[in-house]
């Protein structure tokens, strides 16, 4: 079954947990024992409604403080497909969590409280969805019940958001506006009778009808080699399979390919998935391939089509989202992991800090702190094989690992 990942961001006040709870409840994804646990906790806290955040906020500290700290994953499914919600907190100090949640998602839901309209937090949520190139964005104007289901108010909020969209340079992004009341259930799963003026799809209908073939950002075929399979058994004595995941486009038997960094030209001989051979494999499949010529290939190498070479460079500039308590400073060295390939990277310059609300940049920055987003230039000890992030979501991104703590300290999107 097809799996669709959805990023949500926001605070309890936006009704985010209520919206997720409503999706689970109306799709009958909450089992009796889970519902019972929610009822019990809600009653204990003296609420007269079901607090669905208790189903999603899994850590003791989160329940104590009534906030979402980390990324939580919530699962539900319909007859059409399975959904995974990557639920993250919405405040500025959790920018890194929002970036993390959005990195694996194809769809984002931006929640707006109809009473307050577009606020600072809305800017940030949209900015992050833009930065991460999320193709399908749903703007859910929530709490319509508190503005008398007013079409006029909905149109005002929508018009304000459209002004924000004008600042975006991501033309392929598809934005859908839906007036909802998560609390009452209007336009989440069921159509609203209180808003007959709205003729669009409900939130779930929109998700169900999304074309999952085109929801992924396509790019050129990239095959980073993860692992070399050498069975050394009698039957497969000389077998050398290059295991990896296909990104961007299809790979076919007979394709003329180039192995990087050696730039050796050869052809795809066989494509294996488990013990079966295939003529062709699509993006996102974890396969292993054999090559016509006996070339030297190891982990971190990349196989691409002969007429589709990526950039092969030792220096580049990227937009970096910083995630570590230890600040990033010019001159510092990190392990740069690009896909499955690792090199050493030196920060040659922090060019400017980017305000995550489309309000411009800040020059003369000396260091980056946790949750900062900035344009940073790097020098590498050896070239990597990449595309600009705008052209290739997977081959244009990397993580930075602090060599002392081994923590994942930041993520970069190559310009």
């Amino acid at each position: 079954m097809e799996v669709l990942k959805i990023a949500t961001a926001g605070s309890v006040d936006d009704g985010k947990s209520t919206l997720i709870g409503r999706l689970l409840y109306d799709t009958k994804s909450l089992t009796d024992d889970k519902l019972e646990a929610i009822e019990k906790s809600s009653k204990q806290k003296g609420y007269d409604y079901l607090d669905f955040s208790l189903a999603t906020d899994g850590l003791v500290a989160e329940r104590e403080q009534g906030i979402t700290i980390d990324v939580a994953h919530i699962y539900f499914s319909t007859k059409t497909r399975s959904y995974i919600i990557a639920d993250t907190p919405g405040h500025v100090e959790y920018t890194r969590n929002m970036v993390t949640g959005a990195s694996t998602s194809q769809v984002a839901i931006i929640l707006i409280d109809a009473r307050h309209g577009v606020i600072e937090q809305t800017y940030r949520h949209f900015f992050i969805n833009n930065l991460l190139r999320i193709k399908d964005v749903i703007v859910a104007v929530n709490k319509m019940d508190l503005v008398d289901f007013s079409e006029e108010r909905y149109n005002e909020v929508k018009a304000d958001f459209e002004k924000l969209v004008e600042k975006s340079d991501y033309e392929d992004q598809h934005i859908t506006y839906i007036p909802v009341s998560a609390l009452k259930g209007d336009n989440v799963v069921e159509n609203s009778t209180a808003m007959p003026w709205f003729s669009g799809q409900t939130l779930l209908e929109h998700l169900e009808k999304l074309d999952t073939v085109n929801i992924y950002n396509r790019g050129k075929m990239r095959f980073p080699v993860q692992y070399v399979i050498r069975p050394k058994t009698q039957e497969f004595h000389d077998f050398r399979g290059y295991a990896g995941k296909v990104y961007g486009g299809d790979i076919n038997v007979g394709d003329e390919v180039v192995v990087l960094p050696s730039e050796t030209r050869t052809k795809v001989k066989e494509i294996y998935f488990n013990d079966k051979k295939y003529q062709s494999a699509a993006r996102r499949s974890s396969i292993s391939i054999t090559l016509e010529n006996n070339v030297n290939v190891s982990r971190g190498d990349m196989i691409v089509k002969a007429n589709e070479l990526p950039r092969i460079e030792k220096a580049f500039t990227a937009t970096v989202s910083w995630m570590d308590a230890r600040a990033l400073a010019p001159g510092a060295k990190y392990t740069l992991q690009h896909g499955v390939n690792k090199v050493i990277a030196k920060v040659s310059a922090i060019n400017h800090k980017i305000h995550p609300d489309f309000s411009g940049v800040e020059n003369e920055v000396t260091s980056l702190n946790m949750n900062d987003i900035a344009s940073v230039s790097f020098q590498l000890n050896k070239p990597i094989f990449f595309d600009a992030f705008k052209e290739h979501r997977t081959n244009g991104s990397f993580i930075l690992i602090d060599p002392q703590t081994n923590n994942t300290a930041g993520v970069g999107f190559i310009e």
């Binding site: 079954m1 097809e2 799996v3 089992t31 009796d32 024992d33 889970k34 189903a55 999603t56 899994g58 850590l59 700290i69 980390d70 939580a72 994953h73 919530i74 699962y75 499914s77 399975s82 995974i84 890194r96 969590n97 970036v99 993390t100 990195s103 694996t104 993860q226 692992y227 399979i229 050394k232 058994t233 039957e235 295991a243 990896g244 995941k245 038997v253 294996y272 488990n274 013990d275 079966k276 295939y278 062709s280 494999a281 699509a282 996102r284 499949s285 974890s286 396969i287 292993s288 982990r299 995630m323 992991q337 896909g339 499955v340 997977t394 991104s397 993580i399 081994n406 994942t408 993520v411």
Partner: protein, 299 residues
């Protein structure tokens, strides 16, 4: 040769994770309980490395209170697939005085497994332990990473986890640390059962409806066995039941069922109104039961 490969997104993600483990770690091990999730893991690992053998051993932390059907199944599977199996026993940890057997009505060896597991990790110097935990099982597990770093004491620092971005898995660790790896993090219970059905995988017989001596306690169906504490007032009866998870006899409750085939099991789960961990007695101890056990090094 078949035409175009049709993919199952979850299966492909899991295979990718297995290959990252083999490439990034020196001594990985697959923790095998004989349950449906670890059986699924074995199948995925086979696919990840075909035509080579799975490049790491399996390890079972045996509480001594397992269902005998599960142990028989474990040994058969290992033999048929030609895999290496390491077994470490909770009984040994008890005999060495490292842990103390729980007593009383709700006594179980489930928590004691942690010590045996941590000792085995140290004994073999395992740097990555692959497990079948899934995020949909329990809310503390919903926060778990795919590569989850544990310190020298096996502890989980839930507030300070590494972010995981795109497909990139950071397996770099300090000496003494190890990583717990969860390749089927994003699968639901139904996904696992559907996979077992599609792949035609063999599973222990206790997953199917069978007649068993049981007694009722707290609205749950307990297995009557020498390993399970039972009051004299608690009456034993025979009933058609099956198990949805395979834990210890002392912490796994049965469900009423007539599902005799995988197809019937899948249909039953699709219509079920209680979650799989709803029948886990160990989770009922408190709202934060799983989080506490995980902090101490439990899987």
């Amino acid at each position: 040769m078949t035409e175009k490969l049709l993919i199952n997104a979850l299966e492909n993600e899991a295979i990718y994770i297995f290959r990252e483990v083999a490439a990034q770690f020196e001594k990985p091990v697959l923790l095998f309980s004989g349950g449906k999730d670890s059986i699924t893991l074995v199948r995925l690992a086979q696919k990840a490395f075909y035509p080579a053998k799975i490049p790491f051993p399996l390890m079972h932390i045996d509480t001594g209170h397992n269902f005998p059907e599960t142990i028989a199944f474990r040994d058969k599977l290992v033999k048929e697939l030609g895999l290496e199996l390491i077994v470490r026993n909770v009984q040994d940890s008890i005999d060495q005085g490292k842990v103390k057997e729980e007593t009383g009505r709700y006594s179980s060896r489930n928590v004691l497994q942690t010590t045996t597991l941590l000792d085995a990790i140290e004994e073999f110097k395992f740097d990555a332990c692959i497990g079948g935990a899934r995020r949909d099982e329990e809310k503390a597990r919903a926060k778990e990473r795919i590569f989850s770093v544990r310190d020298d004491f096996g502890q989980w620092d839930e507030k300070n986890q590494r972010p995981e971005l795109f497909d990139m898995l950071n397996g770099q660790i300090q000496l003494g640390q190890n990583v717990r790896v969860f390749p089927i993090s994003n699968w639901t219970e139904l996904d696992v059962w559907t996979y077992i059905e599609n792949e035609d995988l063999e599973i222990p017989s206790i997953y199917f409806a069978h007649k068993r001596d049981i007694f009722m306690r707290d609205g749950l169906i307990w297995s009557a066995s020498e390993h399970v504490f039972k009051d004299d007032e608690e009456e034993v009866e025979e009933r058609m039941v099956r198990f949805r998870t395979v834990g210890d006899m002392s912490c796994t409750a049965a469900v009423d069922s007539y599902a005799a085939t995988i197809r019937e099991v899948v249909a039953e789960i699709r219509d079920s109104s209680i979650s799989e961990r709803g029948a886990r007695i160990d989770d009922k101890r408190s709202e934060a039961a799983m989080e506490k056990r995980k902090q101490q090094g439990y899987f």
